[in-house]
């Protein structure tokens, strides 16, 4: 990658390295941090993006992961607050209701909650949300450009949440570039065999580019590998799953937001603000895979699209 890609919304990994994350050696803050998250911390998706982000800030958080059930998460959130943790990250929209009950009981604790576009009027809660449609749109245009058949396959879990935003953005981007996206939702976040067969079905229906969201895409990525088909990832960097075929991943860099939040907490402001991860604030980063040879003009087109989204001349349709 070139120099000006540092701390920007685009990155290109060096082929052969396995992580695009540089862990800071010095922690940016002395605050104690806990994360409560719904899936496994190494899910190569939603939860991992947060765990990696905190690590990138040099902080070693306490983690309660795998709490897909709201009540269990609420217990953990309350427990961390109770034990004196300074910042509790409630990484799941579904935890918001519980947070509305818990946060007022711990006015000294700062809670960070997402994905959400509101703080529910609580002044010790920060909220964050990714504009996943933005990266989706960019990758949609790239996908359209490299697709020869003009048919792209998308494997989603259920049509909701940031998965839905990503799908909407991706479809809008691809269609703006003249390709057609066949979208199938498997009805499950974790059903790998189903995602695998869904991807196979897309290939059978003529797709020569694949993408997808949620943990179960590990199966779909294998189908891409088996058929030598390019893949686009989202949430976390998925290069490790198909080093030759992942064209790019839209990665959530929560650390951009978190660094700011930690500063505020240290300064005594415990919440009240909503952060959005966008291409503009470098919270969303399109991480191109250095091992995949993408035509220069296509990549430049992507950069232009990013600029267009940032200056508002392109609407992602979401």
């Amino acid at each position: 990658g070139s120099d000006d890609e540092e701390a920007s919304n685009v990155a290109t990994s060096e082929c052969g390295t396995d992580s695009s994350f540089d862990e800071a050696t010095e922690p940016v803050t002395d605050l104690s941090v806990a994360i409560v998250a719904p899936s496994a911390s190494q899910d190569l998706a939603f939860t991992q993006s947060m765990v990696d982000a905190v690590a990138a800030l040099g902080i070693e958080p306490q983690i309660t992961d795998g709490t897909f059930q709201v009540e269990a998460a609420a217990e953990a959130i309350r427990g961390y607050a109770d034990s004196g943790v300074d910042v509790v990250i409630a990484h799941g929209t579904q935890f918001g209701g519980s947070l509305a009950e818990i946060a007022p009981d711990f006015p000294e604790t700062s809670f960070v909650w997402g994905t959400s576009s509101e703080t529910q009027g609580l002044d010790n809660v920060f909220a964050y949300t990714p504009a996943a449609d933005q990266g989706g749109y960019v990758m949609g245009t790239v996908a359209a450009a490299i697709s020869e058949s003009g048919t792209i396959g998308m494997v989603g879990p259920i049509d909701a949440g940031d998965a839905a935003l990503y799908v909407d953005g991706f479809v809008a981007g691809a269609e703006s570039a003249g390709a057609n996206v066949n979208v199938s939702f498997t009805g499950s976040f974790g059903d790998v065999p189903l995602a695998t067969e869904a991807a196979t079905a897309h290939v059978g229906a003529g797709a020569d580019v694949l993408t997808g969201t949620a943990q179960h895409v590990v199966g779909a990525i294998n189908v891409a590998s088996a058929n030598d088909i390019p893949w686009f990832g989202t949430q976390a960097n998925q290069e490790s799953l198909a080093p030759e075929l992942v064209v790019a991943s839209q990665v959530y860099h929560w650390e951009v937001v978190l660094a700011d939040i930690f500063d505020q907490v240290e300064a005594g402001t415990l919440g009240g603000e909503v952060y959005e991860l966008t291409l503009e604030n470098n919270g969303l980063v399109i991480e191109f895979n250095g091992c995949y040879e993408l035509a220069e003009d296509v990549k430049n087109g992507a950069l232009e699209t990013i600029d267009g989204i940032i200056d508002g001349s392109i609407s992602t349709g979401a």
Partner: protein, 369 residues
Amino acid sequence: MIRRALGAVVPVGAALVAFLFGAIMIVALGANPIDGLVAMLDGAFGTRERLATTAVRATPLLLVGVGICVAFRAKVINIGGEGQIVIGALASTAVALAVPGTPKVLLLPMVIVAGMVGGGFWGAIPGALKAYASVNEILSTIMLNLVAVQVMNYLLRGPMIDPLEVEGSRIPQTERLTDNAALPTLLSGTRLHLGVVIGITAAVAAYVLLWRTPLGFRLRAVGHNPNAARASGISVERSIVTAMAISGSLSGLAGVVLVFGSESLRMVTDGSAAGFTSAAGFNGIVAALFGALHPLWTIPSAFLFGGLLTGANNLQRVLQIPSPLAVALNGIVVVFVVSSGRVRTWIEQRIRQPVDDRGASAPVAGGGG
């Protein structure tokens, strides 16, 4: 007397052996097992708040478990708790969404009834399939669990979605429900809410139903011997459907408690049933069997498993032990405790022998025939 004591000592002993396994795993994970045990006990029963939380976590298990007791007495194995919870929750949520302004005294009973009707309906389907079409209930309930999840996904994504989410991030959840339907807190400063009382009441009611009413009498008769029940004028088909409907309605009630006793006061799906139910539909079966399929014994049993859940949560938080350990430990406890029944019999036989030698009396000339 000795029998009574054994009945309590042996399963508890088995549970202790199971925890020994847990301790070994904790050591393997590089933590101190004593700390682990302390963290579990402390998390489950350490403070007033935690006791309250344990009771709250136990309530869905209790309700499902009581339903299992009722169904099992009629010899129907209800593995459909997960689906029945989901449908009960959806029905009650729909009511709360439809008439949000209704005063609490009216709305609370309304959502409870809706949840029970929803769950009862979802339970009656496999009941009717079994009674009238000979479809095995293990098959149909497992399949209906899958169907219920997709019904939930569909409704929370479409018709019942929070209007704010339609244009926003499209989280599949309902809007926050009216506080008029929230289960009131019983002990301020804790999570203890009316759901716990509902759970215990349901257990007592099920006990009364099974052993004090003609309907319960019929269910038990059908469970023990459908042929004799039929010959004496009891409709076996109707009883099976009734048993499953009752069982389902109790699971539906668990769904109500999960929604209206939650802090978030809304339904949200992660695409799976367990995301909403915490697998209460399965763990409730365990609680019921641990309680010897007796509604009243299911109360302490569910409380114990609720404690295991809250304790494990604390264990993970305090020692940073991965959460799957708790699930695995849960399984080991179940396996050890169910296996202990046989051990109890062996011990009983050991101590009975000398007793009998002091002059066995034959009170009645029994017979085969």
